[in-house]
């Protein structure tokens, strides 16, 4: 990169072989402009939706089994059904706060093809009778905010958003809102707090879904950017066509960001369920192998919150269910590859430090626990660890997430997988997420931690 390459075109996106659902326009330099969007089938989904009854649009999305792409992987069509009937107004909040370490896809979708996202928002609002849509973009993403603002201005001008859209009785405003730097705001109830102008702290559950009580106490749908970006294609082509891609329980494609020690790191659109981690790491169509052809030591399959996987797990498919049963999660489609040169303690410390920094401080086990985890790991890494530190680390982890923490199997040692998700004593899953790197690294690489803790011999004290 050089100075003149400031904001290169679709940086990181690799236009490889395979079906393209959400990234189809990324090859066009000017895909963020309405003109290009309209010339490549933009807003056709909206037009088609407007010829259907709202409930038919909802049915199509439910039939397509569109899984949420924000982290939890909950089917969008089913979540939409949780809105209490007859309670108006209802709102749509778009989660564009992408900040899970390793995750890079929503920014691409917002920068490269904002019209596709806006169209997706409109389809969701039409299907559910939502009164207003707030598009919450992460604060640090200046270009994404500019591109969305520009796209919205164009769309308002063309009567695609706002009052009587395309001359019909469908009217909805899409408002660009932007954050100011806080990972926790990605949690949906914290997102709503932030949108209300408050400190972005998660709300107590239940209710478990803001569909019951959300923005201003009203039913609210929170969906991830990538989830909504799939809607135009699904409406144009239908649920059956969508289900031809991917596997039965995870249909369609997903954007996977593969980073770390690989030859060709990048964002790839890949079919869920049928593609494996091995394909992604070693496949010619994807990352083309480990950097320097080194051995794989471990990898994070779904963002920093996910327990780590090891070489034994590379043949798992990119599908929520088997990955969950194997002790981790597909999360936000962020895959971080680490080779044998990686220091497990250092990597673990870095991820834990992230959670300690980003804990919102609302509940004690997380606020105090993550800070202590960081302190202990820091002193171990710096060579000042004390005997018993590892036990203390596990004890703190157990206070945040009681019982066995999810983790991958290790056949050689006879360790079985503990399925995801973990238990928690906290208000939101951020606290338990800080436990993931600790148990993952300690289960497998305890010797690396022990090697860093100085062995002291106690000085004999004589009585006389």
């Amino acid at each position: 990169m050089a100075t003149n390459q400031y904001v290169p075109h679709a940086a990181g996106y690799v236009d490889n072989e395979g079906p393209k659902i959400v990234s189809s326009r990324f090859v066009h330099e000017d895909a963020f402009l309405l003109e290009r969007s309209l010339a490549t089938g933009g807003y056709e989904g909206l037009k088609k939706a407007l010829t259907m009854a709202p409930i038919e649009v909802h049915d199509t999305v439910r039939d397509a089994v569109l899984l949420g792409r924000g982290g939890a992987g909950f089917p969008a069509g089913i979540k939409w059904g949780f809105c209490p009937p007859g309670k108006w107004p209802m709102y749509l909040v778009v989660n564009g706060d992408e900040s899970e370490p390793g995750t890079y896809k929503d920014r691409l979708l917002m920068e490269m093809d904002p019209h596709q996202l806006i169209e997706g928002c409109l389809i969701a609002c039409y299907a559910l009778g939502l009164s207003q849509c707030f598009l919450y973009v992460r604060g640090e993403m200046a270009l994404a905010q500019e591109r969305i603002a520009h796209a919205l201005n164009e769309a308002y001008e063309a009567n695609l958003v706002g009052k009587n859209i395309l001359g019909t009785d469908f009217s909805v405003d899409v408002v660009l809102h932007w954050g100011a730097g806080a990972y926790i705001v990605g949690e949906e109830t914290a997102l709503i707090e932030s949108l209300e102008g408050e400190r972005g702290m998660p709300r107590l559950k239940p209710p478990f879904f803001p569909a019951a009580i959300g923005l201003y106490g009203q039913p609210t749908i929170v969906n991830n950017v990538e989830t909504l970006a799939n809607l135009p294609w699904i409406i144009v082509n239908g649920a059956d066509e969508y289900k031809k891609y991917g596997s039965e329980t995870s249909p369609g494609t997903r954007l996977f960001a593969v980073s770390g020690h690989v030859k060709r790191p990048g964002v790839y659109e890949a079919e869920q369920g049928v593609t494996t981690f091995r394909d992604l790491i070693y496949g010619d169509n994807f990352c083309q192998g480990m950097k320097g052809d080194d051995e794989l030591k471990m990898f994070i399959p779904g963002g920093a919150s996910a327990p780590w996987f090891f070489p034994e797990q590379v043949d798992l498919p990119l599908e929520a269910r088997p990955v969950g049963a194997a002790g981790s999660m597909l999360g936000s489609g962020a895959i971080v590859i680490m080779d044998e040169s990686t220091d497990a303690v250092k990597a673990c410390l870095r991820v834990v430090r992230f959670f300690a920094r980003e804990s919102c401080g609302k509940c004690t086990p997380c606020r105090e626990g993550t800070t202590w985890e960081e302190t202990l790991l820091r002193r171990i890494y710096d060579g000042h660890g004390r005997p018993g530190d590892l036990e203390m680390l596990l004890d703190i982890a157990d206070n945040i997430s009681p019982g066995p923490y999810p983790g991958a199997a290790w056949e050689a040692e006879g360790i079985e997988a503990i399925p995801f998700p973990p238990k928690q004593t906290t208000i939101c899953p951020l606290g338990p997420s800080s436990v993931a790197p600790i148990t993952s690294a300690l289960r497998r690489f305890r010797h690396e931690f022990e090697a860093k803790i100085p062995q002291r011999t106690s000085i004999p004290v004589s009585a006389s």
Partner: protein, 227 residues
């Protein structure tokens, strides 16, 4: 040390008008204040509180939660170096160290000429493009130590003035909604009815209800026959 200028006050009113509740406009207004002064001043927070009809303490509470809001002056150019996991694996920490040495400050600090502030930052969603950094939230991907020095030099000579606005300016393109095109914003308590287009569901819901009733009647009849 300022409240909003007349132009920004107009913008602030426009922002407020897009939300069903005024307080929702607090974060966008804090950004506007930071854009005006380079950081968020106490006077600006007091002004925002008046506009949003909340107490100044509430605005301070919100402001101090978010990392991007600076309540004290920072450099004209804030450089965020990502050191999170994907970047750490590809030299993010070394990049930060190099920058600290070049600018002779530690992360969190500002150069004495008030030009640069360095921050040791969390993931900025460019993980496949590691190591990476942002200057005033504009990206530089796969950047080497030499290239960082080049960027610093270019900023100093004003060569990048067009691509990177000064700290505080986030969006150079703003959303504007012409009044005639606005669908309408109302506080939630004033909205009681379903949106107009939801009547389109009625024929389908009626047909489905009728089909269900017919099915139930048929089932009942079958039950009756069995008895």
């Amino acid at each position: 040390m300022a409240r909003f200028t007349p132009e920004n006050l107009e913008l602030a009113h426009e922002i407020i008008s897009r939300y069903p509740r005024k307080k929702s406009a607090v974060i966008p207004m804090l950004h506007l204040a930071q854009e005006q002064d380079g950081y968020v001043t106490n006077d600006a927070m007091a002004h925002i509180a008046e506009l949003a009809e909340v107490t100044a303490a509430e605005v301070i509470g919100t402001c101090t939660f978010y990392e991007m809001f600076k309540t004290h002056p920072v450099g004209k150019y804030v450089i965020n170096v990502c050191t999170n996991i994907s970047c750490q694996l590809n030299g993010g920490e070394e990049l930060l160290e190099h920058l600290e040495e070049s600018l002779e400050i530690r992360s969190g600090g500002t150069t004495s000429d008030g030009m640069f502030t360095i921050e040791d930052y969390e993931c900025i969603a460019a993980c496949t493009e590691a190591p990476c950094l942002q200057v005033n939230y504009r990206y530089f991907h796969r950047i080497s130590n030499d290239e960082v020095d080049e960027v610093i030099a270019d900023i100093r000579t004003g060569k990048l003035a067009d691509t990177i606005p000064e700290h505080g300016v986030l969006q150079r393109v703003r959303q504007t909604i012409p009044a005639a095109k606005l669908a309408g914003v109302a506080p939630p308590e004033e909205v009681v009815d379903a949106p107009a287009w939801m009547v389109r569901n009625e024929p389908i819901l009626a047909a489905r209800a009728a089909a269900k009733a017919a099915e139930e009647a048929a089932a009942k009849a079958a039950e009756g026959n069995a008895d």
